[in-house]
Symmetry: C2
Subunit: 176 residues, 2 copies
């Protein structure tokens, strides 16, 4: 296997934000040349494939400013500093949907956009759900929706479900 | 269904880069409050699930500076301005792996990180492959690898395959 590593020559901090930071690294390439890499730093996140006792998938409608539209997504949220992903998953499911779950299972983890960002999502399955109160963040407005498998497929076809982690969770649900 | 739209009050351009731009929008929230949204603008991309005549998946090893490691991914690349995704998919498959394909099929499309970025990936399936020469970009160093289904699963377990679009393509391959 080839050594493809790129060594950092310099690293410039461009922006330090509420959720993401941006830096631009000058790197040495495997052939001795140099280039620049634009890198978004993100604290990481969890997402939850929650299945109700009626075999429906729990989703939230959420306005995504980056897309300028409201889309359907599985519940998700970013990790607080030092927070264990499973604790975060339980917190986010309750905050966004009001559900708590008796059964939790880690499914898979993945980087969402390794070409320019270090965001890593831990995907969990939650079942045996009990509905309580929601408690979203103060700048977070979401609406809970529960969809059957066929309704999920219709919304993938129509483009209302167009989020990678959500499409992936629905595909995994199919495999069960 | 609730109206969850966030209207733009101001938009500040923070950075204009080679691959991504960054802006911070001040928005009005559904309850009348205000907040800030950090938004990464990306031109969009394609990814290709290419299956060889020996029923192996074509991947590339690539160093990802954002992750500081070399990972396995399906071939992918960003859209040139105004480029049709299918033309881009054919170009990227040839550039990164040397393969051309007789059969192309659009599988699905998704936003990779709608919480902070507008990147949209068009995922294609390519088959009936013929191997030619590679022609990577001048700052792109990749190594072609072909893996069986079982080898893909092993590398998901070991964490060497940890990229969302690649894990998704492997899951779709399983469903075929």
């Amino acid at each position: 296997m080839k050594n493809l590593e790129e060594k950092t020559l310099t690293s410039e901090k461009i922006y330090k934000g509420k959720i993401i930071d941006l830096q631009v690294d000058k790197v040495s390439l495997p052939d001795g040349g140099t280039s620049y890499r634009e890198i978004v730093k993100h604290p990481g996140a969890v997402a939850i494939m929650a299945i109700t006792n009626e075999q429906k998938l729990v989703l939230v409608r959420q306005y995504r400013k980056a897309l300028e539209k409201t889309i359907y997504e599985i519940p998700a949220g970013k990790l607080d500093i030092g927070e264990e992903p499973k604790i975060c998953a339980k917190r986010e499911l309750q905050e966004e949907t009001g559900y708590s779950a008796n059964t939790w299972k880690k499914l898979v983890g993945f980087y969402t956009s390794p070409g320019f960002a270090d965001e890593f999502i831990h995907l969990y399955e939650a079942s045996q759900l009990t509905l309580g109160e929601t408690s979203p963040d103060e700048d977070e407005f979401v609406e809970r929706v529960e969809l059957t498998w066929d309704e999920c497929l219709d919304k993938i076809s129509s483009g209302e479900i167009c989020d990678a982690k959500t499409v992936h969770a629905i595909t995994l649900w199919k495999l069960k």
